[in-house]
Symmetry: D4
Subunit: 227 residues, 8 copies
């Protein structure tokens, strides 16, 4: 068989497995969608099903099986069932440095939302025009978790973390050219931030950032233990 889905992940971790579509055929994705529909029906798994990095062909296969799934073409993501859960926990704020970083930022927003958090997105507030991020200090203060998405010099997370009480999840993007080396430049910049309080995820990994932010902002009662 071609897939051994981790259906117990929702029970074990509190968040279900997502399907990474790249490198899978549309037939494989379709088969996986069918199994997930069945597992949701019989309660083997729970929570929103996400298909990430989906091409148009992958999306078609998913929509064949789950016709009411939401398909966000910018984020290359499909979510099912279409309505995200009612938000709990704290707010997840997502900032991106430039318009070209939008696909990754949206992937983060949608992931956090379908994993149960309220989200706010602000686009195109890079440090070349510093007044733009400085005008958002209120949102920085309200958020329980902050995602910052940036390509090129990757300088925005350092600036945001320097202003924030809450943890920053930094996402380098492959936006840029030449010595950006496919996102290596912002990746290294973020790993070496002079502002502490930043956790870095893989280049272009909006999914991972949204997942981590959702966990950080999750509801938690300090005296109780997790069941």
């Amino acid at each position: 068989d071609v897939a051994e889905l981790d259906l117990g992940r929702a029970a074990r971790r509190g968040y279900p497995e997502a399907i990474y579509c790249e490198g899978k055929t549309s037939e494989q994705v379709r088969a996986i969608a069918e199994r997930l529909r069945a597992a949701a029906a019989d309660g083997t798994t729970s929570g929103a099903v996400l298909f990430t990095r989906a091409s148009a062909e992958h999306a078609e296969a998913v929509l064949d099986v789950l016709p009411d799934a939401v398909h966000d073409e910018t984020a290359r993501l499909l979510a099912w069932p279409p309505d995200p859960p009612a938000p709990s926990g704290g707010l997840v704020a997502v900032f991106c440095a430039g318009t070209s970083d939008l696909p990754v930022a949206r992937e983060a927003v949608l992931t956090a939302r379908y994993l149960g958090r309220a989200t706010e997105l602000v686009v195109d507030v890079g440090v070349a025009g510093l007044h733009r991020i400085l005008a958002r200090r209120d949102l920085i203060d309200r958020a329980r978790a902050i995602v910052v998405v940036a390509g090129m010099d990757g300088a925005l997370p350092s600036v945001v973390a320097g202003l924030a009480a809450s943890p920053v999840v930094a996402v380098p993007t492959s936006v840029g050219y030449g010595a950006a080396f496919g996102g290596l430049a912002p990746l290294l910049s973020m790993l070496n931030s002079c502002s502490p309080g930043i956790g870095v995820v893989n280049i272009d990994n909006g999914y991972g950032a949204g997942h981590l932010a959702a966990q950080i902002a999750a509801p938690w009662s300090p005296t109780a233990e997790r069941a």
Copy 2:
């Protein structure tokens, strides 16, 4: 003048500036210690003062000025005042894969503790003997934030995150040789984890990991806004 301390950071972010000693002369470190003592005295700043990556000479300069500072030689860290604040928020669990990762793990533990969290440390539970980490599932479940420190293959964070509800802060170390390339191997491994829910910090950056974990596990009331 040689330093313009960010004394307002405690008020702005909730966590004071730490002093990175590498590349500074002992005289510079001593002068900084004096200014911090004065700033603490007159209330310009608040919270624990940390000196990180301190050599023996740096430590001597600090202890001259702040004789009751705690000096952890393994972690190359000094903290003052010597008593950490009473712990608030959730538990920070720190796991390290091998004995050789201990200095970095202790730096994370001490940082989180002096920033106000309760901590637990478990050493030498790498995946080569998988039963060791599997025996700690209870601690994984109790922690509000988990730090995983590993060199060589950097595989432990993937295994821990695959079991955890809480966020994992992964710290690659320079433990290893040859194609570890000074920690590049575990760094890349952690960035590419097949388990979502991992934020990565710089190689050997126990300080950054402890700081981030302290923020994740900080007390937070979902309805209130930060003052």
Copy 3:
């Protein structure tokens, strides 16, 4: 002339040369197929002929000359004659971490099988859901040689080798994106495994892994010398 086939390899090493199709024109591949057919007919060489990394055009050229060849499109491999030899020696087990690693895993399986070994394949047992590989300890114990195929963090071979008496052949894949750097991340991870007993082959080199596993699991009588 454009090729000087190593027809004596089967006699010299016990395993015949395989044809690496990438970078060859279809005409060149066709000419090579013809020569191999003739060499097999007159006994200049022996054993299964493998064409690796074959495009659709390459496959067509091979099938023109050797119409009964087996063509596995997933593995991009052709084998002739179509029936593998009767298996001898020990079992070769092949595990892969994700569905997207399947093409490489199948290339390993088919290579080992056509070189004379029994094989078993298990797909999608990555460490993000650790119970999946732990459920296969019986197969790990029965195998004389184990191939582990993984992209992204490349953590699976460390876990498998930590459980196994038999040698592990680790194959990093180019599955992943960003800081996976085309397979560099799992490659470095595997080279730096904290579990000894792992030999690494090139990124995506299912052929090399299958070949090496076939040699490890080959029949051998400790007192006799090779003829």
Copy 4:
């Protein structure tokens, strides 16, 4: 506690844990030696204890606790008890390209020998004088597993594997300078060998190579299963 030894590894895998000394203090190594002596005494573990990459100080600490341990200064390795087990299984042949590769080659030889194999070592047979390795075809044919150690161009494993029926374990070394980049050049060369049948270990990892070769050459009866 600073170490959680994997004492069950001998029972689980057939080969006990080795102690990687780099990054450990002499006190930690001494404490580990004491625990291993106790574990050997009460049968919690079995087999030879190896201390790898040991400095003079590490060695002193080990010899304090285990005075009859064998210390090979070239290989930076200590073994205890001093007598290796009676050899079983097939022969492990170790070739190294230059005299400067000798420390790594000896580490491989001693590891394989203490894990139970007969070994033969041949030094300084690099491809610059090809007649030297061609004169050893008999040993290549007799070995059940072959370790090839080389720095600089890393060309020797390709030549040996092209002549051998048995698997080759290739060990790149940091011997060389400039564009050898600490062993990167031979590492890449070995991973890209045009001769199939090579498993690569980390740069300078004689320990890993000896371990893997010992497993390849281990006694095995095709019909029986491992207990």
Copy 5:
């Protein structure tokens, strides 16, 4: 002979050759100092003589020959004659992100000053505490050329250039550890700045930055041509 000094550079370019001491013996440096003294005496060359990256031994050799030379130990630089020329052209402002960047910043300051410019230096104004650089907007506005020195994330030049009319010369430093990779991280960050108007020099190259800034801020009359 071991050196063929470019004595005509002052006449040709307007700025004399400086001596890079690394990799030269003290005897070679002494001989060069003697020749420069003679060339200055007979008018073969003109302007300040700079010895860069000088060790204590190099400095001693220079001071033997040119006892009134100025030796800045922090910058590892010697200048002779000791008095810089009267400043002409515009102001060169030098900012550095942290105290540890001070040696490189001083090398830039002294180079620009001995090449004829007025300079101002501001230390420890990194983006982690953004108010520090924002408080210097007046100096940013007054400068004809701005040098920004930063290690770690290299984010400061992007912020400064985003505020400045004048050109920014960015100097990455090797301050940092781990994934800073000896200054690669800030180097890439600066090359990929989202703020245009930045020219980057080599890692730790305070000399080159000071030289370039001196040229940018040089006096120039738009209608006249250079003689």
Copy 6:
């Protein structure tokens, strides 16, 4: 909203924001063009609008909104309004090493011209035929800022800077193959130039080079301060 244009940049820095088209959809580029047209109309911003790295589709969108914009297909750049400002300040000279570097060189020329400088362009004067650049010493002497564009070995800036009083802005290009590694070779060469007085911009970044050169050659009166 998808863009938060930095309309104040012209007032703040003296040079307006340019639009980086890569990674933006044509719809986004069209919307941005509309906003810029409105901002120019109501005086919110001033100066030439540049669209860089524009595909044919991007260009079409821009020309729909700003039909009189100039579109340079070689440089992949659009400028509006079509007439550059009357040149002020000093001359910007642009040299490129080979014909294949022309697109980057033209991007630099047009950027400097639309930011207000006079420009001269010389093509195909690489060091393989040294007489070609030596014949241009007059232009080197007349220029207030010099841009040198080169791929492959990136040797031309070192030669030009060795002859020039004025600052050199060096632009590595991705022209070349193999070990040029997409422009890494000339980038490193330029950063390590043995001739001081070079500021390096990103690979293929003609825009950044033209911008920096325009700032260097800007009119400036040493006694006045910028308003």
Copy 7:
């Protein structure tokens, strides 16, 4: 103008300039062909005109202007006039390791031949089947210059140089995948050869190899000086 041809190179160096087509438009290539035809007609330059790395479109443009030019599609090279000069000097032997290296090998052969040398080509004699190159020792002995072309492990030049009195020009190719990193693996291997007597050219640079070999094998009379 878009090109400033180095027409004096034939007189200056003895070998005329070749045209690198990549990155040039067909129109530019056509214009260059016209100028070269004119320069050959009026004696401004001499010798064979080579167009390298020519696409089908480039070739068409050249053939429009120089209809009797020879076009080798494998080598992507055009030469004019069609007949190479009568060979002088010593023999250039070209060996390539695999069939996939043939395009690069042919580029070297044609370049050397059009620059005036006799050439012999041998294909597919990689070290995996060592007898193949050993069977060519006679050609190795007869050649005044030897070109060795290899991808993957790049081991063949070390073996050939170890047998040869004459210089070896080594050409790494981009043949291979994964950790070959586009030819980096054989490049590093060749630079680190344990056999002295090897000069390395860029990855896939058959032109440079043929040119260098032609110079090495050029006629030379030890007592006379070059005119």
Copy 8:
């Protein structure tokens, strides 16, 4: 035994083996020196014995055995017998860009001289002061082989080859810092030279350059074959 000297190399290739001392103990070097003395005495080998990259301790061991050996401390080389052979063939010219490159340049000079060529050395003629190399065109014209040694930008070989009829052997050095990355910058620059006719050797490999140049400039009679 620890070394299997390639004593037949002089007969086979015309040039004897050299001993690479790095990574060898002084005892090993002494033993090798004894064997070489014996082999020279009984005619098993012939020609000059070279010990390369020798530390002071290595040198002492050699001089103990071969007291009349010449020891060049700058080049870290020993040669025996002390008198080089009478020069034959053409002239080898060695240029180096800076004084700091002298050790590598001298290693090349001595190697070529002891292998039988006349040599001339010119130091400190880098492209920052172009007139220096242009003043040596006569030597460039007289040489049968040219070695160019350069660190930093590695630009000198491109300039020299652009002027030369004879082949250029380019040697990158580790002179420089920061983004020179231990010689990577000049290495890449030289591999990507815009001037054809350059063969590159390893970083700092003066030995290899001298050897290759000696072979290029070796006497050769076009009609005779090598015995």
